[in-house]
């Protein structure tokens, strides 16, 4: 049930993202001042139009593109950075581990969204910067999980055996330890993915991150606030798309965890 609903919602979002230009005839940025604030069901505009007469369906679909792209980039970046740091900290111990774990403590002393928001407000707006801000705030979860996994894996017999056979430390780490912690990295990535998508939307909603007129769900919701009294659909559809995408990816992540790593707490 979890698996199928998660898969269905995630695939739907993915399809919307990949096929956005072909699924709708309208340009998400093209204004039409003759047809502003048309309600859903208007011929040619199934979800209606916004205050500039732009087609809402097209904007929501293109929003999926942006959200999944940002989520994916961030999840991969944080997985690589946090994973590598966690591997090294777990394997080498001594001072790299101590430094890394203090750094993690410091990062965890800020609520995630506040940290990402502050970094983003400082480094600046735009696609690249929102990905960097979310990554800078999000790597620490991987580092912690991977480090603790490495600490147990490296005590296992096959690692000792490989070391006794004269396998070098780098090879030991990447060929023998890494494959055993990889499932956890994937599980954490899938659970973090939806958090990144929602955080990006929240930051754009607050006026940072992705700016109008780019069709990002967060900035669309932010603009919709001024029209809540006259055009509910401007708030309802982008938000529903965001919630359903987050739900789908979350369910998928939950299922992956139950399947591969039931004890993992993120």
């Amino acid at each position: 049930m979890k698996k199928y609903l998660g898969l269905a919602l995630t695939l739907a979002a993915l399809l919307a993202a990949l096929a956005a230009p072909w699924l709708t005839a309208h340009d998400p940025l093209l204004a039409d001042f003759g047809a502003t604030l048309q309600p859903p069901g208007t011929p040619g505009h199934p979800l209606g139009t916004d205050q500039l007469g732009r087609d809402l369906l097209s904007r929501v679909l293109h929003g999926a593109r942006l959200a999944l792209f940002i989520g994916l980039c961030t999840a991969v970046l944080t997985a690589i950075a946090g994973g590598l740091l966690g591997l090294v900290a777990g394997f080498v111990e001594r001072w790299p581990a101590a430094v890394l774990m203090r750094l993690a403590d410091v990062q965890l002393s800020f609520p995630f969204i506040l940290l990402a928001l502050t970094i983003n407000a400082i480094v600046g707006l735009g696609l690249r910067n929102i990905i960097l801000s979310l990554s800078a705030a999000g790597w620490v979860v991987y580092a912690r999980v991977v480090r603790s996994e490495v600490l147990t894996v490296k005590q296992r017999d096959f690692v000792h055996a490989a070391a006794a056979l004269g396998v070098g430390r780098t090879r030991l780490l990447f060929r023998h330890v890494l494959p055993n912690v990889a499932p956890s990295i994937v599980v954490v990535a899938s659970l973090q993915f939806s958090q990144f998508i929602v955080a990006e939307a929240a930051i754009s909603f607050l006026g940072f991150g992705i700016q109008p007129p780019t069709p990002a769900w967060g900035s669309m919701l932010s603009e919709s606030r001024d029209f809540l009294y006259v055009a509910w659909w401007l708030a309802a559809f982008p938000g529903a798309a965001l919630a359903l995408t987050a739900l789908g990816v979350n369910l998928l992540g939950d299922w992956l965890r139950d399947r591969f790593d039931p004890k993992l707490r993120v």
Partner: protein
């Protein structure tokens, strides 16, 4: 126990000092705070004078030293916009945020904990499925969207509640619901899994075999034991409420710490940003410390290990 408390205290002090440094580093990474704050058409001579007055012409290390020396005494400088003590502004907004967070926590305790226990006890029944679906939805629904939809239904359509601001109990309803939603969903799930863990223990089988009523088994034997993980994890999660407050307060124009932070970021009012972010981080660290210490107090095994 004393050793444990002292070592955790020392650790927290270190984290706070490092966090303050991180705040300084973060804000300075963004380049020249004066240029970002001032209007575009200002004369270069004036810029330099302001930089001189605010001390931005000194070497970075000197500025860092001055920031840290001020910060540990609670002095983050003057707000660039309001020309007032930055920490004073933060403290002024604190009660509103505490009220909001407090009512969100109260809502969570009243709704999420009973729901978690109920879904665990009635595992795999319709109640469990509906309850689990509700918590999964609650976790996936972004707070700012929930807020907009609540405003649409209860303010625009039904006209029952004000769209924002503060003053009466009615003003508190929607912001607390938005802030509580995600947290409550998490706590309900934690409660369910903690309760299920305990229900599988042998002493529960024993209690049932003794012929105790189910209500007594749940209330006395199960809840007491599942309380420890629930309290710990909920305590650690509660800190995220401070992050959630940033969003809930902005939507509902609630005059708290979160809204102050967003406004200061938008205005590039860096002393206030530094004060607000540092203050939030200190509260967060203290909460984690309190949870750790109460864990040691609730569960004697933690003390021994430490």
């Amino acid at each position: 126990m004393r050793h444990y408390v002292l070592s955790r205290l020392a650790q927290s002090v270190l984290v706070v000092l490092l966090s303050l440094s991180a705040v300084f580093g973060m804000v300075r990474l963004g380049g020249d705070p004066v240029l970002l704050f001032l209007p575009m058409d200002i004369q270069a001579k004036d810029v330099n004078e302001i930089r001189q007055r605010l001390g931005f012409n000194d070497p970075l290390l000197v500025q860092y030293g001055r920031f840290m020396a001020g910060a540990v005494r609670g002095d983050f400088g003057q707000s660039l916009r309001y020309r007032r003590d930055a920490l004073g502004l933060v403290l002024e907004r604190l009660p509103a945020t505490l009220l909001l967070a407090g009512s969100a926590i109260a809502l969570t305790l009243v709704i999420a904990v009973p729901l978690g226990v109920l879904t665990a006890v009635r595992r795999d029944t319709l109640v469990d499925h509906v309850g689990t679906l509700a918590t999964v939805l609650g976790q996936a629904t972004p707070g700012f969207w929930l807020g907009l939809m609540l405003i649409y239904v209860f303010s625009v359509q039904l006209r029952w509640l004000p769209t924002g601001g503060t003053g009466t109990l009615a003003h508190l309803v929607m912001p607390s619901v938005v802030l509580a939603a995600f947290f409550a969903a998490r706590v309900a799930r934690l409660t369910r899994s903690a309760t299920l863990d305990v229900l599988g223990e042998e002493y529960i089988t024993t209690a049932r075999a003794k012929g105790l009523s189910e209500a007594r088994v749940i209330a006395k034997h199960t809840l007491r034991n599942s309380a420890i993980p629930i309290v710990t994890l909920a305590g650690l999660e509660a800190g995220q409420l401070l992050g959630g407050a940033v969003i809930a307060e902005t939507i509902f124009a609630w005059p708290g710490l979160g809204r102050l932070t967003v406004q200061a970021l938008l205005n590039r009012d860096f002393p206030v940003v530094m004060a607000a972010v540092s203050f939030t981080s200190i509260i967060f660290t203290l909460m984690n410390l309190a949870v750790d210490l109460s864990y040691g107090w609730l569960d004697p095994r933690v003390r021994v290990r430490a």
